[in-house]
């Protein structure tokens, strides 16, 4: 009888232990921005865990070379704080060989009825190759992404206003990456396919 009670209690005890561990980890890193609207909570199986090489695609929608340069400097600074940076030319495809893409996109926001809202969306997403267990299909979905919005329409003149949002998202990525890879000593490598000045 006692044994039966223990069998029922074991999963509860184990589950509590897991939850406690994650809550403790969250308490240790209160700066981690976990807004379920943007970044889902990963109690286990954080998709950033173990990804060590990324190919960084800059926001192609930016037209101003000055803003492009500022974004590139931000990428180098923020991602350089957690890993190595390789500025890759178009002929160096090694970054793409990793299969992990960091895509920074800046663009307009459409309304449900086809019109445009007077705001700008800034998105940082991570895409990687996965095999879906249930169907065995290979796919390259976004496994992690985060958004920010700037309260001005996306025009050439207002491109500068997105810089703060880009920096915020890069910082949130680095925090989340460190959080997911606490037990790893290997630093990630970022191949940056820069744009011309």
């Amino acid at each position: 009888m006692k044994c039966l009670g223990l069998i029922f209690l074991m999963p509860i005890v184990l589950f509590s232990a897991v939850v406690d561990t994650n809550i403790q980890r969250l308490k240790r890193s209160p700066e981690i921005y976990l807004n379920p609207q943007d970044v889902p909570l990963f109690y286990t199986g954080n998709p950033l865990d173990g990804l060590d090489v990324f190919s960084v695609i800059p926001p192609y929608s930016i037209q101003s070379s000055e803003v492009n340069k500022s974004i590139e400097q931000m990428i180098v600074k923020e991602l350089g704080s957690i890993g190595s940076i390789i500025k890759a030319g178009s002929e160096n495809l090694a970054g793409f060989g990793s299969g992990n893409l960091m895509n920074i996109q800046i663009g307009k926001v459409s309304k449900w009825d086809g019109g445009e809202l007077p705001i700008t969306r800034v998105t940082l997403s991570i895409e990687t190759a996965v095999t879906i267990c249930k169907t065995s299909n290979s796919s390259n979905p976004r496994v992690w992404s985060i958004n920010d919005f700037v309260d001005s329409a996306f025009e050439v003149e207002s491109e500068k206003e997105t810089l703060g949002a880009v920096q915020k998202l890069l910082r949130e990525f680095t925090r989340n990456y460190k959080f997911a890879n606490q037990s790893r000593s290997q630093k990630p490598t970022f191949y940056i396919y820069t744009q011309k000045d």
Binding site: L93, G95, F96, G97, Q195
Partner: protein
């Protein structure tokens, strides 16, 4: 939107269709034609005069008239003709030529459906077009080859006409959809190392690594294609990307020399990136820069 679509339509159709290249299809004399209406009338007469059992001729005539309807924005009429052309293609006797007729039918259908805002039909036709371009030409390679090789590829008659009908630039355009080949299948067609100086990386790479590069480059190109303000331009660019990705992945999986598998999409990516950086965004006006160079 509709006007923009029409402009892009004309641009796209001009890539594939010209009076000179349609002449070979049905051997009609277009010299007396002064307008597209004259062309349609000529083609209609030819259809009327052709025996119903002459499927080869009728398939060519219907697809030619369908393209003429496209040029006049009569999309429903064009679709009817493409449908008829498909029927006659089912009884077609010249195997080599059938791929070219199929390509023209499917290409026309994609443009028609898209202009009629029939999203699902556009996607289906686009998928069929990609399947066709993926199934044609993997036993040989057209990459950087002059017209005589195309003659060899399509047979002496069709190949010669194909070359004659398209200017070298247009021919290159069509080849773009077919140019990534399975180098692994024939060792004698493997390119020399020196031809890939613009692709850096290890000499030997696993098929998986090769695939990751293709898919990654495709995603990067998607980011550029998504800048297109016009839906039709976007569809055309995504069609190019998907074809390059599908053929590249197939090449990698077949164990082809990875640089040869990657080169077509990598070069196209660089072209698009350069276009964008040189302030030629993917608009209707710049579409040829994205499809041609």
């Amino acid at each position: 939107m509709y006007k923009n679509c029409l402009q892009v339509l004309l641009l796209l159709v001009s890539i594939l269709v010209s009076t000179e290249n349609r002449c070979y299809a049905a051997e009609l004399k277009y010299d007396s034609c002064n307008s597209i209406e004259d062309v349609i009338a000529l083609e209609s007469r030819a259809i009327f005069d052709t025996n119903f059992s002459d499927h080869d001729e009728l398939a060519q005539l219907y697809v030619s008239r369908g393209e003429s309807f496209l040029l006049t924005s009569l999309y429903e009429n064009a679709l009817e003709d493409f449908h008829e052309a498909k029927y006659h293609l089912g009884y077609y006797s010249q195997e080599n030529d059938a791929a070219i007729v199929s390509f023209r039918i499917l290409f026309g259908e994609v443009v028609c459906f898209d202009n009629l805002h029939l999203v699902e039909e556009t996607e289906v036709a686009l998928k069929e077009l990609q399947q066709l371009s993926a199934s044609v030409g993997c036993d040989d390679c057209l990459d950087q080859q002059p017209c005589p090789d195309t003659v060899a590829r399509f047979g002496p008659n069709i190949g010669a006409e194909f070359c004659k009908g398209f200017s070298s630039k247009r021919l290159q355009n069509i080849q773009e959809l077919n140019k990534l080949c399975n180098y692994g299948a024939r060792s004698d067609s493997r390119p020399q190392e020196g031809s890939y100086d613009d692709i850096l990386g290890p000499e030997v790479a696993s098929p998986k690594w090769c695939e990751e590069i293709i898919v990654g480059l495709g995603r990067s190109m998607d980011a550029i294609a998504c800048l297109a303000p016009n839906h039709v331009v976007k569809v055309a660019l995504i069609g190019v990307i998907e074809t390059l990705v599908a053929r590249g992945v197939k090449c990698c999986q077949a164990g082809g020399f990875w640089k040869a598998c990657v080169a077509p999409i990598a070069r196209k990516w660089k072209e698009w990136k350069d276009n964008k950086e040189n302030h030629f965004p993917p608009t209707e006006e710049n579409l040829l820069k994205y499809l041609n160079e």
